[in-house]
Symmetry: D2
Amino acid sequence: MQGLSEVVAAVHADVAGHIGAGRVADYIPALSQVDPRRFGIAVITCDGERAFAGDAAVPFSIQSISKVFTLTLALERVGARLWQHVGREPSGSPFNSIVQLEQERGVPRNPFINAGALVVTDALLAGRRPPETIAEILGFLRARADDAEVSIDREVARSEAQTGFRNASLANFIRAFGNLQNPVAEVLEVYFNQCSLQLSCLQLARAGLFLAADGVDPLSGETICRPARARRVKALMMTCGHYDASGEFAFKVGLPGKSGVGGGILAIAPRRAAIAVWSPGLNAAGTSLVGALALESLVERTGWSVF
Amino acid sequence: MQGLSEVVAAVHADVAGHIGAGRVADYIPALSQVDPRRFGIAVITCDGERAFAGDAAVPFSIQSISKVFTLTLALERVGARLWQHVGREPSGSPFNSIVQLEQERGVPRNPFINAGALVVTDALLAGRRPPETIAEILGFLRARADDAEVSIDREVARSEAQTGFRNASLANFIRAFGNLQNPVAEVLEVYFNQCSLQLSCLQLARAGLFLAADGVDPLSGETICRPARARRVKALMMTCGHYDASGEFAFKVGLPGKSGVGGGILAIAPRRAAIAVWSPGLNAAGTSLVGALALESLVERTGWSVF
Amino acid sequence: MQGLSEVVAAVHADVAGHIGAGRVADYIPALSQVDPRRFGIAVITCDGERAFAGDAAVPFSIQSISKVFTLTLALERVGARLWQHVGREPSGSPFNSIVQLEQERGVPRNPFINAGALVVTDALLAGRRPPETIAEILGFLRARADDAEVSIDREVARSEAQTGFRNASLANFIRAFGNLQNPVAEVLEVYFNQCSLQLSCLQLARAGLFLAADGVDPLSGETICRPARARRVKALMMTCGHYDASGEFAFKVGLPGKSGVGGGILAIAPRRAAIAVWSPGLNAAGTSLVGALALESLVERTGWSVF
Amino acid sequence: MQGLSEVVAAVHADVAGHIGAGRVADYIPALSQVDPRRFGIAVITCDGERAFAGDAAVPFSIQSISKVFTLTLALERVGARLWQHVGREPSGSPFNSIVQLEQERGVPRNPFINAGALVVTDALLAGRRPPETIAEILGFLRARADDAEVSIDREVARSEAQTGFRNASLANFIRAFGNLQNPVAEVLEVYFNQCSLQLSCLQLARAGLFLAADGVDPLSGETICRPARARRVKALMMTCGHYDASGEFAFKVGLPGKSGVGGGILAIAPRRAAIAVWSPGLNAAGTSLVGALALESLVERTGWSVF
């Protein structure tokens, strides 16, 4: 294997011809106005080695990737009781489907579909006000990214709230089954803010590094969660991290990952590295098209597939 | 870590108090009459080390575990064209559900649900008669298990055929959408025979070893498939290997695996070992209850989780 | 056939032994506290003959029966354009199901499931404020019942709003597909108020009489709608008036009808009479159990089945 | 109202411009080769008056219209016990959908979808061989049509069998839930033969006349079934007679009816007449497009809507 920087440069070259492909999310102006030709990649190893290319330092809206971090926080707060409110199975459905929710009486299939993430956010809120909870999430991301510049794009959060009828529908539906403890409006407020976190690839890879290292931040030495919990979050990323294209991602990339409609993907090579890619054009399932290609290339070049 | 034999003995001790738990499959006499207190485990490493315990040498009906081997064979025969006829996504549904098949116009979600396995069997048949195809599958299993004693229980195959209305329904349904090339009766004949293969844990672990070693049988040196193909079969085992409990298995065990209603599970620790467990009592999702506990214990003791 | 009063008395006697059966709706206090032993029936013929028994003069919450009246009003206002926003098919699903709505991209199956009624209410609102629209609906019911005492139970409306998460979910879901023109909160406000209309059996039968007489109130001579429209509203009552028990009602009663969870049913015998029954205990499908029995008996005794 | 012959002639004229519209069923050659410009209509009143136009004397494949007659026969044979095996609700789904069948564990929604008709045929078979049962059905149709020339097109039956994978799937599926008593192959044999009955509009209207007259053939005086049973068969025709377009037919035509993919429709005007129309071009829901228009026109001109 070449040095990490050469690998990352080669991955960048591999995907260069595809940059701009895919369809940029257009449901809110803030996302639709992003330049489709952006592409960034950052890899940080458990030893602290860094390699990056393209727009790796440009912050983007991480959207659903935030679900990995709120799940970790909620599990630390409420423990395994969380699994009474949300399942651990792939849904076989798009990210915002409501069908299974009706059949399964308000218990979402997993924490990485929108319905499940709302339940996780509800668990995080427990007994507090939205601003505190939003501050806690932001604080966690800043600490994990080791960068106090990490922020929430309030304009994006406002837009999400104005157009978030589907999420409002999901939250009311779950509430109708008694599976939300906090007011629907408060759960949505926190949720729209967590989706509006903006991080660069470098910040995001750094923030996810504890997952690569069994729950301990390998650079700061801080314990974020138990090793078994870190493994389990990664198992969920593998089976459920990309909605109804999770199987395809596992098949082609072979790493636990989580994508967001902003075009970012966080992938974890256990005991090796955290990888963040960003390219705004999405495939039909809502995952970054060029981002997934870049990860395929990276895994091919490094042999980091868990399989 | 202890020696492998000590680990396997400790796993056996861990689950001893649970042996007999779960519900034995009862849809055909040959399965329902199996002693629910059977338990076997066998581990074979890529170096050829073996460790086993309990009824590891007793043959049992591998049922759906056969899908891993027919998938490998079919991919070698027809290549990536197979994916035009069957998907690669978790179904989120029980093993014999027909609902998605209607929505998705006869293209099964993945090769490890019954509908998908029928399509794989159809691809294997292509242009030949059932006896030849059954002989090919049996020959492949004998070669992989390095044991000419591996056999098909024809009595089980007959029973499957007599009670297999659900599979007959699935096959006719797929045929109605034009996604089977061979006569329904021939596809079913081969399918019921492959499900009736009987192997012991020792034979099954040996047969699956090529998947642990990137497609090359590490003991005989034979190439069975390309490394990328072996990885991809394992990715499918991870996301789809246990029907609508695949997420739970990934969460708790963290290894690619495939279960059968006969109570067997084949799990692969990439680049380390193949593991076979057998215990007839099933959980609600049709996976061996004690078998899954044994794998959880094994992974806890070895750290072999891919995550 | 006996005189109408004798028939109604005989019907009352037929069901007397069943009064109190069924399960009273309990999702809001105002409904759950109704005496389950209430039973009322009123028949008003196109000639103006009246017969009634039991609690026929006691107002009750008409709930979903209001959908018949708002549909008539909305059709008069927007005409056949309404059918671009809501279908005319039985749903085969419970009253508040969201599954079909997802498959059919936000266009509810028919105007008598909750989702469809929300779309009808949205059409009625068009360009006005909720209080005006609520006043219009109330005025229409007062005119049709020929009784200025007809009122809305504001306490019930408030309770509906506080517990109406499922309806809020439906409305947001429809809005997400762009099939509501007015703000979700305003549509819900009108909807919860229309459901809280309270009429007695006598008032309700009187209010529905124009449907029995081809769209013309036979007692006042007023034209409410064209004959074809009256027929079509009745066709929808026949095929969709009782959620996923509409077939059963058609099979046993054979009259177009509409039920509400308050325990009321409005049935129409074309060119003969309007009939209102009330008994709070519901069957599994949410239709008044004793009310349906009474209508079965009435039809048996009068031969008024349309079949 | 004009005389009946004038009305029928006027209806013919009303639809003349549309003849040839719609899509002819093409799943078997025998149906696809029918001239799309065929159009026939026949009306027979309870008084024995006849009026007809176009190809009213040309036999066509009645297909699913046969379900009305086998239901009547099966109810006479097994009585209300039949309803333990098949429901009475509109399905909200296409004629050959399998989805609900899985949710409802093998009990079809109603006797007029294919799955339900297979259960009805199974009840008719009970303890006999297919040829006897086919002979009984044919005999019943000949008696009802008062014409020994009524026949089964064996070529059509053979084609149905060769391409009937979807029906074979449904039958096996129902059998898997234990809801068929006879061998799948025998149920299918009878079913494919009943679908292949060929009658002209004149024969078909005559055959359905007992339904218009409360179960008694008004011309021969024979009692076919009790009045309540005749009403209930008509109620099912109203709510379930046209698959997922039953609501639309009720809305526009307002008569109980049953359509077949051969382009025929049998409609009943209670206590007035039986009407048969035939035009091979189908709408999206599989109902004769011009046939439905003709019935709309007829009802408009006669005021025969039950509403």
